[in-house]
Each structure stands twice: as structure tokens, then as C-alpha cells.
């Protein structure tokens, strides 16, 4: 095993797993929310067309634009139509953006496009791929980060710099990008069908900037992120953050249409201070086929990343266990759904810890068994 990876993953497990266990023990209501959320998400998957339609109506009602993309190319074409020749774009961490290859495609068209999550930014300047759903730069040690920043951003930073100084340096750089950005593109932790709202959970504050400072906010996510109500969407944010080890989350952002004000005679006027345009792009890319298949429960995943740390294959293989950005136990399921790649499932030992810790009670080992069957059956 790669020595650096071994050190990094062991540190991450020691720092994260007991913390999550403590959060859930001290806040038992979170497991109740998770159980309820599972039922709500199952209802959405079983009635996906109805919920897509309801989401569309709600987004349009709130003054946003709604778009359904069959696949990655379709999604990128929609983005192009929305942004025209606008050049300055900021992104927030999202697996779906990786899935559709948004950054590299738009960058190749000469646009100035930046990841604003610290980990994703490091992955971007290192020409790398994320190694974990919520901690994309988990494979980089502090020393390595210092070196990368020295080579790509700030000569005053090196291997020996303090972490605080590294973070400050990136913050200074990104602040200029937020202020210059025409477009902010985010993912979504959840989308509520009843209100057309996008919920985003974070700790850094970058998503606040991405969703408020640029004139256009585009949220791109999978159809699997729809939940019936705004309440369910908030619940998903809480369950996701707690199982990721961040409780309470520093920020939960809600975007329901473009910015508006009713301060003059209570007449709603758009835009106000924030974006003048809001768009939701829901991506299919194999998801509706998966809903009809024996992989269906994979779509309940809320991307908390907890299953990674209970998995011996991820400890050994890191981001090679799956097809980036879909790595780890959940990534084996999602590599099958999105990329139709089944081979890495053979690295799974059916240790079963993933299924134990999954807040959505996805029977991950049994689903991976079915993916193995697709590979050699």
C-alpha cells in the first residue's frame, strides 16, 4: 500500500469514525430522521416521474428555470445555453459536476472556472481526482498540500507552513474569484418537490458565496436528490451532515428561485441583492434505468461518505476502489449506475461494515454482489 495513503486514511478514520458515533449517540433523533427519510426517498423513487413534474412546477412557480438532462452532454449543452459567453465561473463541490465533466469541458472552452471548496480546489490545481465524497483531498498530507500551493498559488507557502496560513492563502485567491464570477454552479444535497428549493450543506462558507454573489446560480444534481417536501430536504441536510461528522453543520443554504424583495409595498420584485437567475438542472444519466433495476436502493444514497471508513477495500485501494468521483462502497454502486463499470466490485470482500453504518440502510453488500454478477455472470 502507498505509504502516504496509509497514513492519511488512518488519520481520517481515527478523526472521523468515533466522532460520528458520538454525534449519533448523543442525538438519537437523527437516526429517526434517517429512517423517515429512507421511506420518503423510496416513495420518490417509486413515483419518480410524478415528483420530477412536481419539482418542475415548483421551480417555475418560484421564478427559476427548470431543465431535465438525459445525459452529461445534454446537461452541458443546457449550461452553455444559460451562460452564453460568460467566462467567470465558480463551482462548489459536487459529484454530479465531476460525473458530467463540467469543469474540464467549460475550461477547455477558455472559461475561467474554479472549484471553491478547499479540498476540491487542491484537487483541481493538482490535476487530480477526488478520493472521498466529502473529503476530496483526503489523500493529500499537509506537507503535500504545502508543496502543491507553493507550486501553483503562493511562493510564501511551503511544506512547513501552518495549516492556517495555507487556508488563508487559498481564501484570498478565491475571494477575488467570487467577486468576479458571473455564474455560480453548485450541486444539491436535496431538492424539495413541493417548493422547488435546493438545499446545500457546508462548513466553509464557499457555497454561500457561490449561490449569492454571481448573477446566475445554476444547481445541477441527479433526479435521485428529489425529496417530497422542504422539511424532508432539511432533514436530509441534518442526516447527511451528522453522518459525515459535522454536527451541527455550519451552514445550511436554501435557494428557492432567484433573489427577490417585497420591501416596497410587499410587491415581489426580482432580482434583489443576490442572483437574477436561478436554474435547476436535474440529470438522469442512467438513474431512471437503475430505479427500474435491482440496483434501485443505491439511489437512496445521501453522500455522507460514512461507508468509506468501514470498508477494508477502500482502506487498501483508496480512490482506485471505484471510478472517481464515485469511489468507496457507494462508489461501486454508482460506478455501475453511471459509468456501467462493474469490474472494481471484485475488490469488495463483503466485509459488510458499509451496510451497518449506512444511515439510509442501503444493503450495500448485497447490491455489490449483484454488480459482481453483472461482471462475471
Amino acid at each position: 500500500m502507498d505509504y502516504e495513503w496509509n497514513v492519511a486514511i488512518n488519520k481520517a478514520i481515527v478523526n472521523n469514525a468515533p466522532k460520528v458515533e458520538k454525534i449519533l449517540r448523543e442525538n438519537p433523533y437523527i437516526n429517526d430522521l434517517a429512517a423517515d427519510l429512507r421511506e420518503k426517498k423510496l416513495d420518490v423513487l417509486n413515483n419518480i416521474d410524478k415528483y420530477i413534474k412536481q419539482t418542475e412546477e415548483s421551480v417555475l412557480r418560484s421564478g427559476g428555470g427548470f431543465h431535465l438532462a438525459r445525459d452529461s452532454n445534454d446537461a452541458i449543452d443546457i449550461v452553455r445555453k444559460i451562460i452564453g459567453d460568460k467566462k467567470n465561473i465558480v463551482l462548489s463541490k459536487s459529484n454530479v459536476l465531476y460525473e458530467i465533466k463540467l469543469r474540464e469541458t467549460l475550461a477547455s472552452e477558455g472559461r475561467d472556472i474554479w472549484e471553491t471548496d478547499l479540498g476540491e480546489y487542491l484537487v483541481q490545481i493538482n490535476n487530480d481526482m477526488p478520493s472521498h465524497l466529502i473529503a476530496p483531498a483526503i489523500h493529500l498530507t499537509k506537507e503535500k498540500v504545502g508543496k502543491i500551493l507553493n507550486e501553483n498559488l503562493d511562493k510564501s507557502i511551503d511544506e512547513n507552513s501552518k495549516t492556517e496560513d495555507m487556508v488563508h492563502s487559498v481564501r484570498e485567491f478565491l475571494m477575488k474569484k467570487y467577486l468576479a464570477a458571473d455564474v455560480g454552479i453548485t450541486g444539491a444535497n436535496a431538492v424539495s418537490a413541493d417548493s422547488g428549493s435546493v438545499i446545500l450543506v457546508e462548513n466553509e462558507g464557499n457555497i454561500r458565496m457561490d449561490t449569492v454573489l454571481p448573477g446566475i446560480h445554476i444547481a445541477i444534481t441527479g433526479i435521485d436528490k428529489i425529496v417530497p417536501t422542504l422539511k424532508d430536504a432539511f432533514n436530509e441536510a441534518i442526516v447527511q451532515a451528522a453522518n459525515a461528522g459535522f454536527y451541527p453543520p455550519t451552514y445550511i443554504n436554501v435557494s428557492s428561485g432567484p433573489s427577490s424583495t417585497g420591501d416596497i409595498e410587499l410587491k415581489k420584485v426580482t432580482p434583489a441583492t443576490g442572483p437574477r437567475e436561478f436554474h435547476l438542472i436535474l440529470v438522469d444519466n442512467g438513474r431512471s434505468d437503475a430505479i427500474k433495476s435491482d440496483l434501485m436502493e443505491s439511489l437512496l444514497c445521501i453522500r455522507c461518505g460514512r461507508c468509506y471508513f468501514s470498508c477494508p477495500a477502500y482502506r487498501l485501494y483508496g480512490k482506485d476502489f471505484g471510478t472517481s468521483p464515485y469511489t468507496g462502497p457507494t462508489g461501486i454502486m454508482w460506478s455501475a449506475i453511471i459509468f456501467k463499470e462493474y469490474d472494481k466490485s471484485e475488490m469488495c470482500m463483503h466485509s459488510g461494515g458499509c451496510g451497518e453504518v449506512c444511515p439510509m440502510k442501503i444493503p450495500i453488500p448485497k447490491i455489490i454482489e449483484k454488480i459482481k454478477f453483472r461482471y462475471t455472470g
Partner: protein, 297 residues
């Protein structure tokens, strides 16, 4: 992943499946020898102790895995494969160890008032390897044959002694109408023991079969002192011995075994396992390692 791996897995599948459908064993093995651990159990009973040869063959499984590619290369007809050249025998000490474990399980069952027999060399293999390699179609087909085998002999209940067999038979209940009772020996006996141990749980017992808490309760009641660490021995964080990976890569499998052993040894020097395959995979790295059935009576 290397295309050869896929080819190797598929070849292994067809060979194991053909062998099972023909003779109820996955590869050539000396069934008479492996069933000679007892002579005192009755043959014709409705309830039988079912070893599926797991304890007896655990020491040679890895050697068979190494042999598979050679067998494919010569593209040998099935009849020749069963010739003695391809029959691997465990060492005397390996065999004796497995025999004394099975005898201890058998005597604990009797002590707990359970009446059972044994099929000796007629005993079939469970098909667990098919399930665990994702050969679900073949597993189902062989499962149907296995069910008919037990029906033909009037067997109504199987007492299993290892996690792989227990899991395979329980999965058959989900997949086909496998209407034979399956019970694991740990569920039906109480025992006594002593000492200080860290438990390496079988993934299948603890997570797939939901036996983590009941097994711990029995071990504690027996008088054994268990050492725990959330990151090493909890149901959520405990992990595999590495064995299942050996079909893909022997060195990766060993790396997991080593990693697991190191973390267990940080908790206690005495390690307890409950699966013959876990023992095989961890014992190269742990001096004081024992199966539960070597510790209790």
C-alpha cells in the same frame, strides 16, 4: 481491472460449478479422510451436523487457488483433474486441529442435549464459494440440487459450524424454497471458558447474519474476558481478514490480513476467531490465535 482476472474468475466459476453439479464438491478432495474426525455419530438422522468440509479444507484452500490457473492452462479434461496429482492434502497438524475442533463442537452439542447425526463422506459442500464470488445463477442452481439431496435423505435440520455455510444456506432460503431448518451451533449451545481475548468477528456472523451481540453475550457468560476498541472490534468498524480477496490478488489479500492482525494486536495479544478461514488468514501474523471452539467446552 486486469482482463485476465475476469477470465480467471469465469473459468474458476465454470470449473467449480461443474464439479459441484457432478459430485457435490468444488474441487477434488479426499472426502473419506475429511469425514474421519468421528466414527461415533449415527448416519441416518433427521438432524445432522453439517461441516461442509470448511474446517477440514481451510488450510488448503489457498493452495487450491494457486493451482486453479495451472489446471486451466493445461485445459485438462474433468476426469483427469480428479487424479491424485491435483488432490492437495493438509498437513497432519492442520488436519488434527480441525478434527479436534469438530469433536469439541460435537461434544458441546451433546452436552447441551442435542440429538444429531452426520453424513460422513456423503456430506455435500454448501456452494458458499459460488455465492461469495457473485455467481448467483450457479449458486441458485446448485442450491436446488443441494435441497433435493437433503430431501432424498429425509434431512429436516442442519446444524452448521462455520459462518460461510450458515450464510450460504440462509441466502438459499431467500433465493429458492430451501425448506430445511438451518441453525448454527453457537445459537443452540452454552459453554464455559476462560482467558482474555480480543475477538476478530467473522464478517458473516456479525454483520450478514446479525449474530454480533448474541455471540458476545455467550462468550461473556462463559467467563471469558473480552477486550474491545470501537475502531477495531465494533460491529461498524471491525473488518475482514482479507481472505475473500485472494482470488483477485494474493498480495492484496495478505496486506488486508496483516493490517487486520496489527490492529487486533493493539487491543490484545490473544486473538479469538470463529471461522476457519479467518484463522488461516490471520494466523501467519498472530502467535496466540485460537478458534472459539478451541477455547470453550
Amino acid at each position: 481491472m486486469d482482463a485476465n482476472v475476469r477470465e480467471r474468475i469465469i473459468k474458476m466459476k465454470s470449473m467449480v460449478f461443474e464439479n459441484l453439479m457432478e459430485s457435490y464438491i468444488p474441487f477434488p478432495m479426499d472426502k473419506k479422510l475429511y469425514s474421519s474426525w468421528t466414527e461415533s455419530l449415527e448416519r441416518n438422522k433427521k438432524t445432522v451436523l453439517y461441516t461442509s468440509y470448511m474446517y477440514q479444507i481451510s488450510g488448503i484452500l489457498k493452495r487450491y487457488e494457486k493451482l486453479f490457473p495451472k489446471i486451466y492452462r493445461v485445459n485438462m479434461p474433468k476426469k483427469l483433474i480428479s487424479l491424485s496429482k491435483f488432490i492437495i492434502r493438509p498437513s497432519d497438524s492442520e488436519l488434527q486441529r480441525s478434527f479436534s475442533i469438530l469433536n469439541n463442537i460435537s461434544s458441546m452439542l451433546k452436552k447441551n442435549g442435542i440429538d444429531f447425526g452426520y453424513l460422513y463422506e456423503d456430506e455435500p459442500y454448501s456452494g458458499a464459494i459460488l455465492l461469495e464470488s457473485g455467481f448467483l445463477y450457479e449458486f441458485q442452481k446448485y442450491g436446488e440440487k443441494l435441497r433435493d439431496f437433503f430431501h432424498d435423505r429425509g434431512i429436516e435440520k442442519l446444524i452448521t459450524v462455520d459462518p460461510h455455510t450458515t450464510n450460504a444456506l440462509n441466502r438459499l432460503k431467500e433465493i429458492i424454497n430451501f425448506d430445511i431448518d438451518v441453525v448454527n451451533y453457537l445459537e443452540i449451545i452454552n459453554f464455559k471458558g476462560s482467558g482474555d481475548y480480543v475477538i476478530h468477528d467473522s464478517c458473516l456472523y456479525s454483520r450478514a447474519l446479525n449474530m454480533y451481540d448474541p455471540i458476545r453475550a455467550k462468550i461473556k457468560n462463559a467467563g471469558i474476558n473480552i477486550h474491545e476498541d470501537y475502531l477495531v472490534t465494533s460491529r461498524e468498524m471491525g473488518f475482514c481478514c482479507g481472505g475473500p480477496l485472494s482470488l483477485i490478488s494474493e498480495s492484496d489479500s495478505e496486506e488486508i490480513s496483516k493490517m487486520r492482525s496489527e490492529s487486533l494486536l493493539k487491543v490484545n495479544n490473544n486473538v479469538m476467531v470463529m471461522c476457519p478461514l479467518c484463522f488461516e488468514n490471520l494466523s501467519p501474523y498472530i502467535d496466540n490465535i485460537k478458534d472459539l471452539a478451541e477455547v470453550v467446552s
